[in-house]
């Protein structure tokens, strides 16, 4: 498993290939439907917040506040990424993202942006909310919680050894496109 430490430089991203298993540590930011539409429509990140060289995670975590006011993530699996396809390429470019974590894969525009700007799509295991929540060691901050609601907010999470697989790399390869084509051909042989 390749360790990935955030922030990530371009040469590290370019060295990753479809099928590589990675283990991610450092800061990631959650962002799903509301965040992507907001940024795409011209919204800006709060003062001082930069995701350059960083990772956005398509996730609506379950987060609870304990008696001391500390946030704790109790379930944190990925949500379906393809809903962000209309926005993702622009956000990769504007924010300087090096990786997007999600599930189910994304489309051609995102794949092209990964190639042009040096970014990868990392597939986490859908449904594995408990294993992935265990990788979250700390909630450092939260942005837009009031405006977007808890699952849709930007949660700043510290993660350690978070497992994922490169399914779209920065060289134009997509495992999703390859599996689709191979399975179409296999099905044609069975009909």
């Amino acid at each position: 498993m390749t360790p990935l430490k955030v922030p990530i430089d371009e040469s590290t991203i370019r060295s990753l290939k479809v099928g590589d298993a990675v283990s991610i540590s450092g800061t990631v930011y959650t962002g799903r439907d509301r965040v992507h539409k907001f940024l795409h429509d011209g919204g800006t990140l709060p003062q001082g917040l930069s995701l350059r060289g960083g990772i956005i995670y398509h996730c609506g975590p379950v987060v609870i506040q304990d008696a001391d006011g500390q946030w704790k993530v109790t379930a944190a699996g990925p949500t379906t990424s393809i809903r962000e396809e209309p926005y993702q390429a622009q956000i990769i470019r504007d924010l300087g993202l090096r990786a997007v974590i999600g599930k189910g894969g994304m489309g051609d525009q995102t794949l092209a942006a990964c190639k042009e700007f040096g970014c990868v799509y990392l597939h986490a295991i859908g449904g594995a909310a408990q294993v992935l929540a265990e990788c979250v060691t700390q909630v450092s901050n939260v942005y837009f919680r009031e405006e977007f609601g808890s699952p849709e907010a930007i949660w700043e999470l510290q993660i350690v050894n978070f497992p994922a697989v490169v399914t779209m790399d920065s060289h134009g390869r997509s495992l999703h496109a390859e599996v689709l084509q191979a399975s179409q051909e296999a099905l044609a042989r069975h009909l």
Binding site: K103, G105, I125, G126, P151, A182, A186, L187, H190
Partner: protein, 292 residues
Amino acid sequence: MSQLQASLLDLIRRTSTEVPDDVNRAILDSLEREKKGTIAESALKIIDQNIGLAKQKSQPLCQDTGSILFYVDCPVGMDQLAFEEAAHAAVLEATQKGFLRQNSVNSLTGVNDGTNLGPGSPTLHFHQHRSETIAVRLVLKGGGCENVGAQYSLPHGPLKAGRDLPGCRKVILDAVLQAQGKGCGPGILGVCIGGDRSTSYEFSKKQFLRTLPDRNPDPALDELEQDVLNTANELGIGPMGFGGKTTLLGVKICAINRLPASFFVSVSYMCWAFRRHGVTLAPSGEITQWLY
């Protein structure tokens, strides 16, 4: 809290946090079969770990705790309205305790009031039977897999699928192909042939109440179930769509009557985090037996 409400709360907790034994066994079998050292195998290992961790911590298997679907077999004369009130109270409490995510959104206003109660949530299907036993089965079905369900109207020109079992086979396999890994596979299919559109989907979901190793009593449907399962697993879609040997863990198909004018095939896809449990209840509301 009434005894019935307490029992339903426990049913919700267990359904959200533990996969039933038959599904757990199927996942372990698929882990054995998958080629060692592949990303498909590692996906199944993480799934297996997640199942253990969720049970141990009594926390939701998946953060999307899904649509709440109750199937109730009840004695003639049981007060269904009282049962529904107890079920609503149990859902609210399960949400407050974190067994269910705040997961129900007003479709017009976008407001999520955090209760999981509202039109269509939860959904209760009552069925009377001539027995004193109350049997309650619960399915929690997440949105990712629900989104890849499909309904076909036969004949289907582009797929060259006619109004016969080979035609049904073609469209069911097309649903598997279109779903790829997006429904959090390896998945389980519930299929209904026939009916009107809504009844057909309803019966397709009821197939999820069957255990995975059971066999269809109708030989033709049994053959179709085995055929679709084996063929789907030769498509190479694999766990999470990563490629691999296990695309489906099970296929369950029923047939109901249709109008001469209609021929629907409805395919519901269930993710690996197959949340289904059931209990029988004494008249007092106490749990007498777990069904899965």
